[in-house]
């Protein structure tokens, strides 16, 4: 058996001249594999009394080990599948070549990168560290403001840190604050945002945030699905396929806020009339924006506790999903008994495919796929 393997190796000597049997008793071979001009030491141990490469074990120099880190499983699989040495070596060589080119494009961090990072985290306190990714390129810190709201500060670390500054940003509702800031150290970042809070920069948003928190707690928010601190828009479910979208203004949170109603015209128009009729009663600033809207619309918003998902049912009747290519169902059948919502793009695709659909400029006139009542939509930009 040993003899045949040695034969194979001798046969492959042309391709792998640096491989020799290392042990007389145990079938094991060691040598070098040449990849991109670099010679990597490795050893392969075969199982006794086995003819193939099954259960063979591959050992390598630290450099080789580092290169194949994360690919061990695939390599083991190849080792089991390959019929001959040469086949496996070709595979190994290909993989190493690929990984080596990849490694070259990834610059390694500066000498004192990690030690600086650890020292800094020690100085600001590890409890402030919220999350980090395995490469330590991005991390987030958490800070509490005066009202106890937790904020995340996102830090991306360039590999040349500390020579080049950190890029730091936080989710704040104004465009100027969300743009990235360059900071010399994590400590600076923490003190900057803490100072911001002391400087009433964060305080400015407390009112808006408390309004938004009230909405999030008491209504069924459809959009955004995971509101960030910088999101000022809330789309609230009203039931029967209808929804209300409210947009607050960070600079004038007590002023009139933007709103938009979605859903069947027959259900929405009474709500719209109520808004027109009651809008001037919006005087009570002791109440939250949600409470004001409830007073104006003369309804109570359904909350996650009071209704189930099926009652909300605002999925598109064509693609059966709520979110489709970042758009939400904003068209709906005007038949009060139907009221089926659709994505504009889905409805457009459907009406376009039907020969009986009439088009006038950019409006399509057709029939609802569900109740066959007249329905119209406008051309999608996409």
């Amino acid at each position: 058996m040993k003899y045949t393997i040695i034969q194979i190796i001798l046969m492959d000597a042309k391709n792998f001249p640096l491989l020799v049997p290392s042990d007389v008793d145990e079938p094991s071979y060691c040598g070098f594999i040449t990849v991109k001009g670099q010679e990597l030491a490795f050893q392969i141990k075969l199982e006794n009394n086995s003819t193939g490469l099954k259960n063979a074990k591959l050992y390598g120099s630290p450099k080789l080990k580092r290169l194949i880190f994360g690919h061990e499983k695939a390599l083991q699989q190849r080792l089991e599948q390959c019929a001959s040495f040469s086949e496996f070596f070709v595979d190994l060589k290909d993989l190493l070549e690929l990984l080596m080119t990849k490694e070259k494009t990834d610059p390694s961090p500066c000498e004192n990168y990690y030690s600086t990072l650890i020292n800094e985290l020690n100085s600001i306190g590890w409890d402030k560290l919220e999350a980090f990714n395995p490469s330590l390129k991005n991390l987030s810190l958490k800070l509490n403001d005066s009202s106890g709201r937790q904020h995340s500060i996102f830090v991306s670390l360039p590999f040349s840190y500390p020579q080049t500054p950190l890029i730091v940003h936080a989710e704040l509702p104004t465009p100027s604050s969300t743009t990235s800031n360059h900071m010399a150290s994590l400590k600076d970042a923490v003190s900057f945002y803490s100072k911001v809070s002391l400087d009433k920069e964060l305080e400015k948003f407390q009112y808006v945030w408390s309004m938004l928190d009230d909405i999030d707690a008491h209504t069924w928010v459809l959009e955004p699905c995971k509101p960030k601190r910088s999101d000022l828009i809330r789309r609230i479910a009203l039931g029967n396929h209808c929804s209300l979208q409210i947009e607050l203004d960070a600079s004038y949170p007590k002023g009139e806020c933007q709103y938009r109603l979605f859903g069947t015209e027959s259900l929405i128009s009474p709500l719209r009339e109520k808004i027109i009729k009651n809008w001037n009663t919006w005087l009570n600033f002791d109440l939250t924006i949600r409470q004001n809207f409830e007073n104006i619309l003369e309804i109570t918003f359904p909350s996650t506790q009071t209704i189930s998902t099926s009652d909300i049912n605002i999925e598109c009747g064509i693609c059966y999903s709520y979110r489709h290519e970042d758009s939400l169902p904003d068209q709906s059948c005007n038949n009060a008994k139907c009221g089926q919502p659709f994505h504009r793009s889905c409805l457009y695709e459907w009406l376009r495919s039907i020969p009986s659909t009439k088009q006038s400029f950019n409006t399509f006139f057709g029939n609802c796929p569900y109740c066959n009542d007249a329905i119209t939509t406008t051309i999608c930009d996409q």
């Binding site: 693609c319 059966y320 290519e325 889905c346 695709e349 459907w350 495919s353 796929p369 569900y370």
Partner: protein
Amino acid sequence: MVNAVSRRLLKELKDYQKERNPDLIELSPIQEDNILVWKAVLRGEAETPYEGGHWTLRIEIPKNYPIQPPKMKFLTKICHPNISFKTGEICLDILKAAWSPAWTLQSACMAIRLLLSNPEPTSPLNCDAANLLRCGDFMGYESLVRMYTQLYAMSQTDNEGSA
């Protein structure tokens, strides 16, 4: 677009599995890695000549489903005026011009099942069966259908069950 299609199909599959339909014994993709080809097994309606039979259908779903209707055909031989005896092709308006996204694979299968007891002999794919109905020979039609049901739709399910 394929993504939106698979999302809708997965939802349809979930809806079917949530509430099993006794008339539709099976409705699922044939292979796990291809959601665009499904298989359905229909149970023949009681008190019709199709009683006791199980028919397998192959459903091919176009990439722009549900804008385009699914392509359905019988794999099990069936004798029906609107279904081709040879190819299993089905002549049903909702699978062609009358299709709308409001239909689902399950409701389309149920529509086919309803077609079995409500044949339309004026647009036949199986002229022999249609001619019997057009001549008013209901007895002859029913016994012909029952014979083919026993011949193909009962034995085959037994074979499938044991296989």
